[in-house]
């Protein structure tokens, strides 16, 4: 455990030293600022319209809920990028530069190194997610007083989605070059993304084949399914009845899919540990 923490500590240092954290913080703050201004404007317009009694209150709330979900959807994309890109170079880069040779010859197991790196990036990801999603929710509440139904559950599912991608990125780094790894993991994410949409459209049109295709891709890469669950828990009730959007979910993934996603992370991590333990460095 001590070794894992030492490696995690170094990894934080590395993320800081390479200005990854700084870039993420600046862009994140910029995003929240723009979102706050935009949301405030939309709210002001709504209030003005409401004053003229053109837009009913309920519809206005649905509209604001929609904008809030759009903000969270954007956060979802940022989290996906963070999950894939921050650890993409951590193993392959160290292997290429030879830095890894001075680590694995220490009296610690190779597994410890991998787990320490995984843990550090997971903590960075979790903090980033909570700050960004929490920022959006706070802005929405502060401006309009609207509270999305089950934000903590939603954020937990987004974290699970990020964890899947983070683990895939680390797994790829044990054998692939940085570039090949990035192409592979983002490709897998895109596959799940398209599959998720096909499932939604399939369920809306009652097309079983499209729906099954979506479920299969979700089993292959359970990322989009986790976003759908997150969106389902956070969206205002009325939005569930509105036409299909990326963040109004008609076909809700089952509990089985959640169990599968957790299992998926564990299995991918075990494969990564095995790959890293047995390779020549």
């Amino acid at each position: 455990m001590n070794g894992i923490l030492t490696i995690a500590h170094l990894t934080f240092h590395e993320a800081k030293g390479r200005r990854v954290v700084l870039a993420a913080l600046i862009l994140g703050a910029a995003f929240l600022l723009i979102f706050a201004i935009g949301f405030h404007q939309i709210y002001q317009d709504g209030v003005a319209n409401n004053h003229l009694s053109i837009m009913p209150r309920v519809e206005q709330r649905v509209g604001l809920g929609f904008v809030a979900m759009a903000g969270l959807y954007a956060v979802n994309f940022l989290v996906v990028m963070m999950a894939v890109l921050t650890p993409i170079d951590t193993l392959s880069g160290d292997i290429r530069s030879g830095t890894i040779q001075t680590l694995v010859t220490k009296p610690i197991h190779r597994e410890t190194i991998l787990l320490g790196k995984w843990l550090a990036f997971w903590i960075i990801l979790a903090v980033y997610l909570v700050m960004m999603a929490g920022g959006v929710l706070l802005i929405v509440y502060a401006v309009s007083g609207i509270q999305l139904p089950d934000a903590p559950t939603g954020i937990a599912f987004m974290l699970l989605e990020g964890t899947v991608l983070l683990t895939l990125s680390i797994l790829g780094g044990t054998r692939l070059s940085t570039l090949a790894n990035g192409v592979t993991v983002l490709g897998l994410y895109a596959l799940a993304f398209i599959g998720g949409w096909m499932e939604q459209i399939g369920s809306l049109l009652g097309n079983g084949t499209a729906q099954n295709f979506g479920i299969i891709t979700s089993l292959l890469v359970p990322t989009e399914a986790m976003w759908q669950l997150a969106a389902y828990h956070m969206q205002p009730p009325l939005m569930r009845d509105v036409a299909i959007t990326p963040f109004s979910i008609t076909s809700v993934p089952s509990t089985g899919m959640v169990v599968w996603a957790v299992l998926y992370v564990v299995v991918m991590l075990l494969i990564a540990l095995r790959q890293f333990r047995t390779r020549d460095l």
């Binding site: 001590n2 070794g3 030492t6 490696i7 170094l10 240092h13 590395e14 800081k16 030293g17 390479r18 530069s97 030879g98 830095t99 040779q101 001075t102 680590l103 694995v104 010859t105 220490k106 009296p107 610690i108 197991h109 047995t278 020549d280 460095l281």
Partner: protein, 309 residues
């Protein structure tokens, strides 16, 4: 506890169909400086990596500090300076050493003292708070060396430790190796700077195309002398007679005469040999004595078929 720091037998590494190391069989005693010599591509680095657990051997056995390869706790007593490395360059020199010390499990209090001591030894005390990315190549090499010694290892592997160093840096490393030996540390030195190996190493192994072709004590070698004779004639009886004065007696035709060489222990053998030859009635055209340089020995061991790697 065994007297051997490293003991390997038939260690082999194949990458697909390519054989990187064919047969690594060698012994390194405790508290000696061991030179591992051979041309580029002979398998020196792969051999070292196998001993360090970085690369899994395809076949063979080895024990390092009495433990089988890949034993994790045993690594607490081993230090390593890789040949091509790029360290965590966002750390300062002190942070870098502290981090590596922590990975070795060195207690915090001991570590602080050890870091200052080592920074002094590699002449980087004033640069300790600068980031590694600001270091020169020679400074990086020296901080890398300090890293390899942070755990006060019983056995340290140095892969080309003087590459990238200026003459002063080389002298510093040489002195450091000598100090390590007096402290009882075993040093496994991978180098092709033969003049350096000659002054620091106790024993050497020559590697050619993935196999150890000769292991020898350097003290023996440099203490010993080579006698070169040109005689009117020689026969088996004469050569046998000469073998009483030394070893490795070789004869080669040299024009009308015969050249004979042999290894003897010291100068005092020379008049004895002359007296004996005269007594045998042999014509002596010349009689000389010299110390064989490690370079000459290297070329001899590698043979004429070896080309620059």
């Amino acid at each position: 506890m065994t007297e051997l720091a490293i003991e390997t037998s038939g260690l082999r590494k194949e990458y697909g169909t390519k054989i990187a190391v064919q047969d690594l069989t060698l012994t390194v005693h405790r508290s000696e400086v061991f030179g591992f010599l051979g041309p580029n591509g002979a398998g020196k680095t792969t051999s070292m990596k196998m001993l360090l657990g970085l690369v899994r051997p395809t076949a063979g056995q080895a024990r390092v500090l009495g433990e089988p390869l890949g034993n994790v706790p045993a690594r607490a007593g081993v230090g390593f300076l890789p040949e091509h490395f790029r360290f965590q360059d966002w750390l300062t020199g002190r942070e870098f050493l502290r981090f590596h010390g922590r990975l070795f499990g060195v207690p915090a209090k001991t570590l602080t003292r050890r870091i200052e001591d080592l920074l002094g030894q590699v002449d980087l005390l004033d640069a300790g708070d600068r980031k590694l990315r600001e270091y020169s190549k020679g400074m990086l090499q020296r901080i890398g060396l300090a890293q390899a010694l942070i755990n006060t290892p019983r056995l340290v592997f140095l892969d080309e430790p003087t590459s990238g160093l200026d003459p002063l840096g080389r002298l510093l490393v040489r002195d450091l190796i000598v100090r390590l030996r007096t402290e009882g540390t075993t040093v496994f030195l991978n180098s092709h700077l033969l003049s350096e190996v000659e002054v620091t190493c106790d024993r050497v192994a020559f590697v050619k195309r993935g196999s150890v072709v000769r292991q020898m004590s350097l003290a023996e070698q440099t203490g010993g002398m080579e006698v070169i004779l040109r005689l009117g004639a020689s026969d088996a009886r004469l050569l046998q007679g000469l073998a009483r004065f030394g070893r490795d007696v070789h004869s080669t035709p040299d024009g009308t005469a015969v050249g004979v060489s042999l290894q003897v222990e010291g100068e005092e053998k020379l008049p004895e040999i002359a007296r004996w030859l005269v007594g045998q009635g042999t014509d002596i055209y010349s009689l000389s004595m010299g110390k064989k340089s490690l370079e000459a020995l290297f070329l001899e061991v590698m043979g004429e078929d070896e080309r620059p790697g």
